[in-house]
Amino acid sequence: MASAPIITFRNMAGSVLVAANYVQSTLGGNYLPVLQGENSNLFYFRIYNNFALAAGIASAFNVQITSFDAISPASHTAGMSVINQSWIRVYESGYGENSLPPGLYTQFLGQDTAIGGSPAGKDIYVPEYGSDGTTTPYIRAGTNTNGVGFIEIATYAELPDVVGMYAYAFAISILYEWST
């Protein structure tokens, strides 16, 4: 270990993700907005550490997932209801390592958890299993013999009854610790 973890969000095929868009969960609703009072579709993404298997990358320990408002993640203001009311829900859906991308996969259904809250980021989700299948919430970097490490997260939006027609933006945040 030596250098900072290289965290990337990817889909199951290994492509980089830059956003999670929640849409209607009803049949044929893939491009339609989520209706008030309903849950969105389920959206899966993987959190990889050191996807490119660079040398000397640190593992990410004590991983936590939360959500911040879109005004400024640094402000922690919880100014928007999507965060304040904890619409965003996540749970671990799998993990894996010991393989080149996209990685060997073991399915695991974690505890469905609302994240965000007020003050923003108060409510966190700690993955039950780490990338190696132990109950340590870490994503190993894969610079030794353990291959590309990842955890897979399922997420959806749970909208209250009275939302109104707006486009809500928010940040998904992964917190972790590491050592040189």
Binding site: M1, A2, S3, A4, P5, I7, T8, F9, L17, V18, A19, A20, A58, A60, F61, N62, F68, A70, P73, A74, H76, T136, P137, Y138, A169, F170, A171, I172, S173, I174, L175, Y176, E177, W178, S179, T180
Partner: protein, 141 residues
Amino acid sequence: MVNMISDTIKTAGKTLEERGIPDNSFFVVEFDDGSVVSERDINWSSISSQQRVQYFGGIKTVMICTLPVKRIVVSHGELLADLVVPEGCSVFQAIRSETVILDEKKTNRIIGRVVGLVKDGEVIEEQFLNEVEQTVVGRRK
């Protein structure tokens, strides 16, 4: 000639910035024999091992120093934590980071450092040098 503890540690071979850390964020450790090392010269992984410990009602994974430490000073910008390690205690420290997806952009940033003491497999003190709020907050059992 007597070897000091600091002489036995493998050097990092990279600058702090090459390891992804700002130049003003580092630890300095004083060992029981009085020798001193800085993160500018070594990696924490060279003097520590991974352990799961009790953590204020939960579980936490920490990298505990395997060498006898008398004192550790952790600096992060203007923030500072200075811990004298009591008899029977071990010390851990780590960098705390976050990766955020927002507005179709991913950003990584260091948000601070943690340093703490472990006794009998349990964290008894932890200080968080919080860069976002520019404060040092602590928990003690």
